[in-house]
């Protein structure tokens, strides 16, 4: 599949060096001179319609290795690589052409002290203003075990405001707001009743897990992968384990693959039910909200019955699974999940007949397909605006093998209502996948006998409930993690969040927020 891409590159970019690395995983690498970077990436993103996954910055003893990772729905993956001597910290920004890279470059500027020339917006991002100038925690010289002197935060942070007309004002919401919510700040720029623009400020929950992982055994990093975004723990451990399994060239038993699929889909169902419960609550439709909440609790109990933990912690392990599950239990969990599915169908019917509910979702929080693509939005939020991207199909991995027949629900409107329908629809697809997995589940061991990993580097990915997630891992001979880079769906989708929160009535804000199904923890890391 890579052949046509290779031909295209050699024909149009003669100066770019193509290399194929094989290490359990074929990685096509295109090495660029900084001068060619912007045009090359523009061509991949705008002309070749490749997707942007993430920016991986690595600092070796002698040089910077900077990679933009692209992929295509047809299965190609390309790492665009630039090497710089360590003393050189300036490189061209691709964000003006590949808008999806905007936040990635801002993050790398903060954490590594790199300068992306031509980037329109650098400054206060992952590290808020009170961090001492020149602190770049991802640099290898930075000691992560130190605790920083408590700098006083400025409580009056203001974004750069676009509106300067008379009567306009900026209204902050957060970082602590509503009854139970993840910490994040939103500045709503308003004129009169209408909000014209929303600027989110994130990273209040930044825990620096990529740095914390450095020097730890992969088995221990797994604990971080499981806990940085606890509501999608299985998807993230799956991506991380897959990266490690690629490095160690570990064969996963067939039964483990099948169980992983079952559990990953179970997690998706639970995640989407939870998103729907929040959506119902945001519209103050009390009966629907409490029905959805009952179903959410039921899914948590099912997860616990299956794995011993309500959020499936402790199940995934490098090489397979940490436990086997008796057939009978699988059947029971499937059956009860299907019952939840049935009740959801009923709930959807009721909701779609409630005009007061629909009025609050239809044409609210609209994102155009073009904008969603420019921001490389992922998951249900992207599929609601007609982008049929799903890593289970685009880059079939592990348990999904040949997933070309996978049904990927998409909608066109890109509004809150479309996103709600996607959540409902995907639950039914997941239930079907669970059923299929159980019917064909092979017997045998659930973990590879030897799960040792040595030195290497690999990319692992999975379709998390919120969209595709990418984990880049590099290890040393002892299997300790040297670099762990995460490209999460919430990070991509928060980047595009403002698109949904433009020109709306103030009271719609909680609904727009809920309909996106975003996680702050997953984005802030």
């Amino acid at each position: 599949m890579q052949d046509s891409l290779k031909e295209f590159i050699s024909a149009n970019f003669a100066r770019i060096e193509l290399q194929e690395h094989k290490n359990g995983q074929t990685i096509l690498e295109a090495e660029c001179q900084p001068g060619d970077l912007v045009e090359f990436c523009r061509c991949l993103f705008c002309d070749q319609h490749m997707y942007y996954a993430m920016l991986v910055v690595e600092e070796s003893a002698e040089q910077w290795i900077i990679k933009h990772v692209f992929y295509a729905p047809s299965g190609e993956m390309l790492h665009v690589l630039v090497r710089l001597p360590l003393a050189q910290t300036i490189l061209p920004s691709i964000a003006t052409q590949v808008h999806a890279a905007d936040w990635h470059e801002r993050e790398a500027e903060d954490l590594f002290g790199l300068t992306f020339e031509g980037h329109p917006r650098l400054g206060d991002f992952v590290l808020h203003d009170h961090w001492p100038e020149g602190t770049n925690p991802m640099r290898s010289s930075f000691d992560a075990s130190q605790s920083l002197p408590p700098g006083k935060q400025a409580s009056d942070w203001q974004p750069i405001r676009l509106l300067e007309s008379e009567g306009s004002f900026a209204m902050p919401i957060g970082p602590i707001y509503s009854d139970v919510s993840e910490s994040a700040l939103f500045v709503l720029e308003t004129v009169g009743e209408d909000v014209l623009r929303t600027i989110p400020r994130l990273f209040y929950k930044h825990r620096g897990i990529e740095k914390l992982a450095e020097g730890q055994k992969a088995h221990d990093v797994l604990l971080l992968a499981e806990r940085f975004s606890g509501t999608a723990s299985f998807a993230h451990t799956l991506a991380f384990c897959r990266a490690m399994e690629t490095i160690g060239q570990i064969q996963i038993p067939a039964r483990a693959q099948s169980i992983r699929l079952f559990v990953a889909e179970l997690e998706r169902v639970r995640h989407h039910v939870s998103a729907l419960a929040k959506l119902c609550a945001s519209t103050a439709l009390a009966v629907a909200a409490s029905q959805a909440s009952i179903l959410e609790e039921q899914m948590l109990r099912l997860s616990c019955k299956l794995s011993g933990h309500r959020f499936l912690f402790g199940m995934n392990t490098i090489g397979g699974l940490s436990m086997d599950i008796p057939e009978e239990l699988f059947r029971q969990v499937l059956q009860e999940s299907q019952e939840v599915g049935g009740r959801l169908l009923r709930l959807r019917r009721k909701l779609t007949r409630t005009s007061s509910f629909l009025d609050r979702l239809q044409d609210v929080g609209v994102i155009s397909q073009q904008d969603a693509r420019a921001h490389a939005m992922l998951g249900p939020a992207a599929r609601a605006c007609g982008i049929s991207m799903d890593l289970r199909q685009a880059l079939p991995y592990g348990p999904y093998g040949d997933a070309s027949s996978l049904h990927i629900p998409t909608e066109q409107e890109g509004d809150g209502y479309a996103r709600m329908r996607i959540f409902f629809e995907e639950i039914q697809v997941s239930l079907q996948l669970m059923k299929d997995a159980l019917e064909t589940m092979p017997k045998g061991p659930v973990a590879a006998e030897n799960a040792d990993c040595g030195a290497g580097a690999a990319l692992g990915w999975s379709e998390a409930p919120g969209g595709g997630t990418f984990h880049w891992v590099r290890t040393d001979e002892e299997g300790k993690v040297l670099r762990w880079r995460l490209g999460t769906p919430s990070f991509a989708n928060w980047h595009g969040f403002h698109l949904a929160a433009e020109k709306f009535a103030f009271q719609d804000f909680p609904i727009i927020l809920a309909s996106m199904g975003l996680s702050v923890a997953e984005s802030d890391r």
């Binding site: 925690p137 408590p150 602590i176 929950k205 009966v287 409490s290 948590l300 011993g308 402790g314």
Partner: protein, 253 residues
């Protein structure tokens, strides 16, 4: 609208009977390890090395367990040569020394109804999900006089989850300061108790303890909703009271 009314009336209300009766439905809690004194020698060493966060330790040749460190990685469950037992409990909350002292000073009205402000100080969202379910039909904390409030100025209790990131520290302190007296604090989960897998580090504190006074701690990663209900009852002394009454009753019979 009337359709929703009938729908609501027809919905079976699954509210737990807890605290009047213990809840035993499957899946309500992951349980916790029960260290037994029978574990010795190699089995003991093996278990201790299995626990990557130091929740299990060797104490004078028997197994020590620090529940505040347990991150529910489940690695010590049913895997050692001599199995470590797990229970399916959820009454995990306990008063700190300060909490005990403070409890004596509480008025009856404080005990009867509480306004709670939840703060996410860098939690992974699993803890928050469990907190949010408290107000749902399964746990319905309102029946016990517990309510959420978005304003710290109206709050009696601060419910904090997460290791306390550098970016949330000042906001947490500000919320605490703006609460009226008497005010109480509950540390929710391994993160808020000890920093969990994240802290202490360059971005996170070791949980709440050295930042604001804590009255009640709830172990777990995350503590399930019933453990949180238990924490609220313990904070107000209502759990202890109920137990006393129950003990009196059984004395008589």
């Amino acid at each position: 609208m009337s359709r929703w009314l009938t729908e609501g009336l027809l919905t079976h209300k699954p509210t737990t009977a807890y605290p009047a009766r213990p809840e035993s439905t499957a899946g309500i809690s992951p349980g916790l390890p029960v260290p037994s004194s029978e574990l010795t020698g190699q089995a003991l060493e093996q278990l201790v090395s299995m626990c990557r966060v130091g929740a299990l330790s060797k104490e004078k040749n028997t197994l020590g367990f620090d529940d505040g460190r347990c991150i529910h990685c489940m690695r010590c469950k049913g895997k050692s040569p001599k199995e470590l037992e797990w229970d399916d409990s959820y009454e995990w909350a306990r008063l700190t020394k300060l909490g005990e002292k403070n409890l004596a000073k509480l008025s009856a009205s404080f005990k009867a109804s509480l306004y709670i402000r939840t703060i996410d100080a860098g939690a992974c969202a699993a803890c928050l999900t469990e907190i949010s379910l408290l107000a749902g039909p399964n746990y319905n904390m309102h029946r016990l006089g517990f309510f959420m409030t978005p304003t710290p100025r109206k709050a009696d209790v601060l419910l904090v989850s997460g290791p306390v990131t550098d970016h949330m520290r000042d906001h947490l302190l500000e919320a605490y300061d703006s609460m009226p007296e008497p005010k109480r604090v509950i540390a929710v989960g391994a993160c808020a108790m000890t920093g969990g897998v994240f802290g202490p580090s360059f971005t996170c504190a070791a949980g709440l303890s050295d930042m604001i006074p804590v009255d009640v701690v709830v172990p777990g990663c995350p503590p399930p909703p019933l453990a949180l209900l238990h924490a609220l009852l313990v904070l107000t002394g209502r759990k202890q009271q109920a137990e006393k009454i129950r003990a009196l009753g059984s004395d008589r019979s």
